[in-house]
Structure formats: structure tokens, C-alpha cells
């Protein structure tokens, strides 16, 4: 599948739940598709003015296209995902979890080492020992010509969304 068709399909899938921005620039890196998802759950008694508890689950999708890929580009992309943790995640007593989902879309063949790098990547951070929630990074690599989707452990949960 060609890139324009794939990104169009992906946007249609995500826009039902995410606020989408195209051509987004983050720390001088051009992002093709940037999605923000906020979910707030509340349990209340009788009226919304009497909450029993509330919690929030958020996700940020950072989707970038590369014609060709090398290890250095992947490392740079990962670095930006880690910056996003500091910039986007605002821990507070009702914050339960945030996912930063980084998606790399690539057209050409790439080194097998990159597959290992993606699969072994792990990032989880707790805020105030988990009392203010936590953040996980999902890392996903989509190889368009083969229709392959490679993910880290956390990325497996959403692999289906990025299938061609």
C-alpha cells in the first residue's frame, strides 16, 4: 500500500476518538499526524456535583513517515517520544495513565538491527509511586511494502489499528 492511502486510512480510523493535527512540528521534527485522546471517567451519586471518584486515561499518537530508515533516525524519534513524556503528561491525583504511541512508517527495506531495537524498547515511568498515575511508550514500525507491523511489548495492544 502506498503511504498517502495508508495515512488517509489511519486518519479515518483515529479521528473517531482522537483530535487530529496534520503537519505538526514538535521540537523541530515534522510529524505527519499528531493525535490527542483524552478520556475522563467519573462515578457520581445522584448528581454530577457529587462525585465519588474520577480518573483520566490519555494517549498521544505521534506518527512520522520515513522514506528510508537507519538506527540513528529511530534513536532520534525515540528521543522525541521521551521529550513528549515531559511536555505532554501532566500528573495529578486523578491522572491514571498516559500512552505515548510513536509510529514510524517506512517505505524502503531497513536493517534487521532496527527490528530488534523496536522490539526491545521499553519505557515506563510512574509518578509519585503510581499515586499520580504512569506513562508508557508504545513504539510501532509499519513497513508498507511488506505490510509488516513491528511493535514493542506495549505496542502489541494496538497492533491491529496499524495493520494495513
Amino acid at each position: 500500500m502506498e503511504y498517502t492511502k495508508y495515512i488517509e486510512n489511519l486518519e479515518n480510523k483515529l479521528k473517531r476518538h482522537f483530535d487530529i493535527e496534520k503537519e505538526y512540528t514538535y521540537k523541530e521534527m515534522k510529524i505527519d499526524l499528531f493525535g490527542k485522546y483524552y478520556l475522563r471517567n467519573e462515578k457520581y451519586l445522584a448528581t454530577k456535583k457529587i462525585p465519588i471518584y474520577a480518573f483520566e486515561n490519555n494517549e498521544y499518537c505521534i506518527i512520522k513517515y520515513f522514506k528510508d530508515l537507519d538506527k540513528e533516525k529511530v534513536q532520534t524519534f525515540i528521543k522525541h517520544l521521551k521529550f513528549a513524556v515531559d511536555d505532554f503528561v501532566k500528573p495529578h491525583s486523578e491522572h491514571m495513565s498516559t500512552f505515548i504511541t510513536g509510529v514510524i512508517i517506512v517505505d524502503k527495506e531497513f536493517d534487521k538491527e532496527i527490528v530488534k531495537l523496536i522490539q526491545k524498547f521499553k519505557f515506563q515511568k510512574s509518578f509519585a509511586f503510581g499515586f499520580k498515575g504512569w506513562v508508557d511508550i508504545r513504539l510501532i514500525l509499519v513497513h508498507l511494502p511488506k505490510g509488516e507491523v513491528i511493535t514493542n511489548k506495549k505496542g502489541k495492544e494496538v497492533r491491529e489499528v496499524y495493520q494495513l
Binding site: 451519586l45 445522584a46 448528581t47 457529587i50 471518584y53 491514571m96 499515586f131 504512569w134
Partner: protein, 538 residues
């Protein structure tokens, strides 16, 4: 008399009432299946979402069922089992079911608004203010009553105490593995349930023996932590695992009854004044509490359930049917007290209160199909304590919130230290704990009175709305009049009794509730006599 017949006859009576009286109520109120509900007219994909009736009934029942329908009927067994049985049957069908169904339907016709907003719309703002103060004081009683009941249970069934401690640890671990480690919920549930029953076995092997006051202190510490801790750490995983306990307990109890079919031994009627000095009128109707009618159900029904009602026709199944199912649980509870002798009942109730009676009874029933008695008993005590702890946690959270709201000033930038989450929780817990140091037998009737006062308020509110809508409200006339008479009489008696014993704090509660009950009764009569129109059209 065979207790199996008792439960079967009760279920048949409830079934007939559901088909006949429930349908008559729906016809009188103008329940219209073709009319669009707020779930459709205001569908926002968040609060207002249509849900299937069985799903909604499950959610609604889980919200209204707690330790109340177990504790109340057993506590009232001092009058004999017949008055309790009759009140569960008559009260459930003509009082509690009508209130639950009515408040749910009224809420549907008020665009899914809460009973609080309906009170404001039909009875004025001052009534709503009174309602807030009343709610906070009632929540203190909830904390006191349930802390006391759980502490009693842990003293009388030490195995359940250690099982409860292990269960809390298990819940935290369950949440950690599911949320943080991504464990599949299906596999985690199977392992969780296996470990849950292992907790019960370990509890029996290593019972935790402590004094009642020590347990009260530990429980107060626990509810403070549970109320300020994020819900994903303890509350959510614990409630999820609790649901397995509830269903296992209900299945075990019914199966045990079928296998055992015990004969009723408790006296049918002990007299108009019980051995503990309580008078049958009005105390029977206050002490049974949630087993026949509960004011808190009106809050649950009008809070979230009404917003998800797919069709007005489902209101009968959810509101009226849900209450009748709870009445069946109350019947099972009274059977656990009625199948034993008066002396045995006094011994078990004296050793650990109603939960001890219930746990012992279901433990014996389950032993008839192979579950070891000790395991069965501690399992039931764990299950009931778990419900009580959930009620405690929710009650404390709500109490904290209402307390914070009392001292919040939107015009000021710097708020009072009393609005601090930890301070507000601490005050609610400490005051509830102070009340808990007394006897649960002193607290429960006051709690029951507060609950029945709320029921009277809900009944009068719906009656006012029906009158203002030009509909018949005769089905509310007797219940609301009766509940006001019961509440006012009970509070007067409790005021005198606590004054004589020098329980000043309970005297304060009784006075406040008594004044509130009289104010509400007078206001309600005024509104019913006037021809004012509601601000909210239904």
C-alpha cells in the same frame, strides 16, 4: 415450617406483585414505551447512552445491594420472624418497590435529572440545602454503623479478618498486574478468583485475633487510606473481585437452602416489645431498613440509571424488579436467623452481630453440599465485610466531598484548610469513628431512621411531581404518610432512650433528624395542598 417453602412462596408473591401491581403502577403513571427516553433525546455518548435492560438491572442491583438487606432483617429478628417476613413482603411490594420505580420514572421524565434537582424544582431551594446537611450527617452514621459491624465480624470470625487483609493485598496486586503489566483480564480473573479462595483457606489457617477497638482503629485507618488513594490502586480491582464473591455467595446460599431445607425454629412472634427494649412499632420498620425500603435507592435510580434507560417500559424491570430481588436477599437473611433456636440466635448475635448470624447460617447451608463449615462461614463473613467496606469507602468519599463543599467559597482565591482533601477526609473518618465506639445496636436504628426519612422525602417528592403533572398519586399517600409517622415516632423514642443513657452525640443526631423530619412533613403537606406548578416540565 420448612424454610425452602418460605423462600419459594416469597419469590412467587414477588413475581405476582411484579406482574400485577408493578403493571398497575406503570399504567397509572402513564409509562409510555413509545416515548423517547433521555438516553435517546439527549444521547451524548457519555452520560446519556441507551443500555439493555438486563445490563442496566445488573448495574443497578450491584449499586443498591450491600450489607444493609442482610444486617437489617437479622437485627429485627428479635421481634420474631413473622413480622420481619411480613414487612419485607408488604414493604418491598408497596413501599420500597414503589419508591424505587417511582424515583426512576420521575427522573426519566425530568430529562434524567437527579432526585436532588427534582426536589429543588418541585419543593424549593431550602429543602435542597437541608438535604445536603442531612446527607453528611447520614454518611457519618453510615461510617459508624459499618465500621462497627465489620469490627464485630472480625472479632467473632477471626478467619474472615485475616482473609480480608489478604484480599486487600490481592486486590492491589490484581490491579497492578492488569493495569501496569498488561495481564489479560480473563486469565487474571481466573487466577484472581483462585487466589481469592486461597485467601479464605489461609485465613482459616492463620486467624487474626484482635480486640474490637483495635479493629475499629485499623478500619478507620483503612478507610482513610482507601478514600484518598486513587481508585485504580485499590477500589476498582477490589470491587471487581467483590462481584465474584457476591455471586458465589448468592449461589451458595440458594443451593444450600435447596439441599438442607431447614425447619424454622425461631419464635414466630416474640411480642410488641423486644428483649432489648425496642418497640415493634415503629422500630421494626426502621431496623429492617434496606430489606423493605431504602431512601438511598432513590439516589442511585435517579443518578445514573435513568440516563441509560432505553425505553420507559424497562423502568419497571430495573426499578421495581431490582428492589424485589433485594427483598429476596432479605428473605434469605431472615431465614439464617429463623432456622436456629432463640438461644442460639442470641448467642450468635451477641458474639458478632447480624453478620455472624448470617455467616454461620449460610456456612451451615453450604456444608450440606460439601463445603467445609468453617471455610463456608469465613467465606460469607469475608463477602459481607467486603460489601460493608465498599459502602464505607464510598460513604467516606461522599462525606469528604460534601464537607469540602460546605467550606468552599468560589469568590475567594485562597480556600479554608477545611477544604483540603486529607483534612476533610480525616474529619469525616474521625467523627464517624467516634460514633463507632458506641454499640452498633444504638447506631443502626438512627441510621435506619435517617434512611427512612430520605425514603419519605423521595416518596413525597414523587407524589408532588405526580400531583403537579395531573396524575394520581394515591399509591404514595399511604407509604409516605406511614414512613413519616414511623420516622418521627422512632426518632422521638431514640431521643428519649439515648437521653436516658447519656449518649449525647446520638441525642444530637436524633434531634436534628426529628426537626428535619417535621420540617419536611410540613413542607410536603403544604406543597401537596397548594396548586403550584413545577419549574421542570415532565
Amino acid at each position: 415450617m420448612n424454610s425452602l417453602w418460605l423462600i419459594l412462596v416469597s419469590i412467587i408473591i414477588f413475581g405476582i406483585a411484579y406482574v400485577t401491581y408493578g403493571s398497575w403502577l406503570a399504567k397509572q403513571w402513564g409509562v409510555d414505551p413509545t416515548r423517547k427516553t433521555p438516553a435517546h433525546t439527549k444521547n451524548d455518548g457519555v452520560d446519556y447512552v441507551p443500555a439493555k435492560a438486563p445490563v442496566l438491572l445488573g448495574h443497578h442491583f450491584a449499586s443498591i445491594a450491600g450489607a444493609g438487606p442482610i444486617v437489617g432483617p437479622i437485627a429485627a429478628a428479635v421481634f420474631g420472624w413473622v413480622p420481619v417476613m411480613l414487612w419485607i413482603l408488604i414493604g418491598g411490594i408497596f413501599f420500597g418497590g414503589v419508591q424505587d420505580f417511582g424515583s426512576l420514572f420521575a427522573s426519566i421524565r425530568h430529562d434524567g435529572r437527579s432526585i436532588g434537582e427534582i426536589i429543588e424544582a418541585n419543593m424549593g431551594r431550602n429543602m435542597k440545602r437541608l438535604f445536603s446537611i442531612f446527607a453528611w450527617l447520614t454518611l457519618l452514621l453510615v461510617v459508624a454503623a459499618f465500621v462497627n459491624i465489620v469490627a464485630n465480624t472480625f472479632v467473632s470470625v477471626p478467619a474472615a479478618a485475616s482473609a480480608s487483609v489478604l484480599f486487600i493485598i490481592l486486590a492491589v496486586l490484581f490491579g497492578f498486574f492488569v493495569y501496569r503489566k498488561g495481564a489479560p483480564i480473563g486469565i487474571a480473573s481466573v487466577i484472581g478468583v483462585i487466589l481469592l479462595f486461597l485467601c479464605i483457606v489461609l485465613g482459616n489457617m492463620f486467624p487474626l485475633v484482635l480486640s474490637k477497638n483495635a479493629w475499629i482503629a485499623i478500619l478507620l485507618g483503612y478507610i482513610f487510606i482507601a478514600s484518598v488513594t486513587p481508585v485504580w490502586i485499590l477500589l476498582q480491582p477490589r470491587d471487581y473481585l467483590n462481584s465474584f464473591l457476591l455471586y458465589a455467595m448468592l449461589i451458595g446460599a440458594v443451593l444450600g437452602l435447596v439441599f438442607y431445607r431447614p425447619t424454622i425454629q425461631l419464635p414466630a412472634f416474640t411480642g410488641f416489645t423486644a428483649s432489648n427494649g425496642l418497640k415493634l412499632f415503629p422500630m421494626l420498620f426502621v431496623v429492617v431498613a434496606c430489606g423493605a425500603i431504602s431512601g438511598f435507592h432513590s439516589l442511585v435510580g435517579s443518578g445514573t440509571t435513568s440516563k441509560q434507560m432505553d425505553s420507559e417500559a424497562d423502568a419497571k424491570a430495573v426499578g421495581y424488579g431490582g428492589m424485589l430481588i433485594e427483598c429476596v436477599l432479605a428473605v434469605i437473611a431472615i431465614i439464617t436467623a429463623a432456622y436456629i433456636t432463640k438461644d442460639k440466635f442470641a448467642e450468635l448475635a451477641g458474639a458478632g452481630g447480624p453478620v455472624n448470624v448470617f455467616s454461620d447460617g449460610i456456612g451451615v447451608f453450604m456444608s450440606k453440599f460439601g463445603i467445609p463449615y468453617e471455610i463456608g462461614k469465613s467465606f460469607v463473613a469475608l463477602a459481607v465485610s467486603a460489601f460493608a467496606l465498599t459502602s464505607l469507602d464510598t460513604g467516606t468519599r461522599l462525606g469528604r466531598f460534601i464537607f469540602q463543599e460546605m467550606f468552599e467559597n468560589p469568590e475567594k482565591e485562597k480556600q479554608s484548610f477545611l477544604t483540603n482533601r486529607f483534612v476533610a477526609t480525616g474529619i469525616t473518618v474521625v467523627l464517624g469513628g467516634w460514633l463507632a465506639l458506641g454499640s452498633w445496636t444504638a447506631i443502626w436504628p438512627i441510621f435506619g431512621s435517617a434512611n427512612q426519612l430520605l425514603a419519605a422525602l423521595a416518596l413525597i417528592t414523587i407524589a408532588v411531581w405526580l400531583k403537579n403533572s395531573g396524575k394520581k398519586y394515591i399509591m404514595f399517600a399511604i407509604p409516605m404518610t406511614f414512613m413519616f409517622i414511623v420516622t418521627i415516632t422512632a426518632l422521638w423514642q431514640l431521643l428519649q432512650a439515648n437521653l436516658a443513657k447519656g449518649n449525647n452525640i446520638l441525642v444530637f443526631f436524633a434531634v436534628f433528624l426529628l426537626v428535619l423530619a417535621i420540617v419536611l412533613a410540613v413542607s410536603g403537606i403544604k406543597v401537596l395542598r397548594s396548586s403550584s406548578r413545577p419549574k421542570i416540565k415532565a
